[in-house]
Amino acid sequence: MSEEATAVDTEKMSPKEVNPDQIMDFLKSKMGARFKMWLKICAHCGLCADTCHHYLASGKDPKMIPSYKVRFLLEILRKKGKVDRDYLKKVYDTVYYECNACRRCTLYCPFGIDIALMISLLRSLLLSQEMVPEGLAKAVENYKEFGNQMAVTKEDWVETLEWCEEETAEELVGLKIPIDKKGAKIMYTVNAREPMFYPQDIMEVAKIFHVAGENWTFPSKSGWDATNLAMFCADGKTARVIVENTFKCADELGVQQVAVTE
């Protein structure tokens, strides 16, 4: 996850009442047979404990055992969604700050229980109740409006690429930063922070492509941002649009490969 999302410790909390029916409808629509099975068969053997870096880094705090972190799902189901904001705040603290969905516990679980998928489901549930880390919420808004997490407009993006080309060409004569070049072999994508804060990264990559003699291009349309922060707050719809944008660009330009550097 890029730093702007994790650094923000305040979160966007909606003051509105929790609606149990809405929670249950949400869970019913999302909880497949897999989730129900996992909640039922976990033998609480504890083998997942010391596979978790949060557990190890907290001085082996039992509350950090992966199997324990997903108890919320079972509790919410038992309570038929009748939980309050304070309860959801506890869920929030666990699913965002005590698990980063690395899936290492799953590799050591005798049943292969996918804890990260359940954490993601809980994040998605919190999203439906408007509880999202502020940094992520902002990024998601930017994706929806501008197609990238930093709200870079198409004009700014193209202009940045153009002056990057100008400056770099002073050093390497003949260097080009191709934009929307049909039939290029590689379509290159970046983290949207690069045009905002680190244009030198774009220049350096252009130098490498130039010297290597690669046939490459940047797309001008949305799809050039390789990050997908919507995925981190389990906003599946937006996450899908972001990926589709990249695929659309690749299709239109007829490239053979998409390079994702994030």
Binding site: M37, I41, A43, H44, L47, T106, P110, F111, G112, D114
Partner: protein, 221 residues
Amino acid sequence: MDFFSFVEGPLLWIAFFTFILGSLIRVALFLSMSRKMDKIVYQHFSWKYIFATLGRWLLPLNRDVVKNPIFTTLGYVFHICLVIVPIWLSGHITLWEESRFEWSWTSIPDGLADWMTLIFLCIALFFLLRRIFSANIRLISTFSDYSLLVVTALPFLSGYFVTHGTLDNVAFLGDNMQLIHMLTGELMLILIPFTKLFHFILFFFSRGVTAVEFGRRGYSI
């Protein structure tokens, strides 16, 4: 019909039927629900990854063997004894031979069965003590974790007592050990489809769906 005959006859039928029918129904429910709700598993379905994961985890070829060798060994031995002793015990096979089915198969030596039972009970006791005394495991343990361990161990404990007459001089227990053995065995059979003991089937489904999930990214677990 006295209570003993009921436990020996009708209740045994009820127990086996509950176990078999309950298991079949639960599998059917899982499959029909997953077909509707877990489409992604079917979209990326791959026997290759499923067989790979089952092979690794049914045999001790997985990463837990390296990371937690002692606990993993105990887990394997526990389950091997749990499955082998009741099915291949000569005393049980004799009953199948005498039954209306007249089924028969080779038994394991009684001495081996004795040792396997004792080892099984020691491991069960260790699991129980670990659950009670380890702060980690205690926090995540639920009532069913404790009680199902006891439910699983009781048929073995009472079976050992029946075979060896250990408690024959103790009032009530001595006279009724065979009854207790049958009752605890039947209780366990009946509980299997309704509790997490059903992992004897769901193990395969759970490993399978996760193997597919990791497999679609080219990683075999």
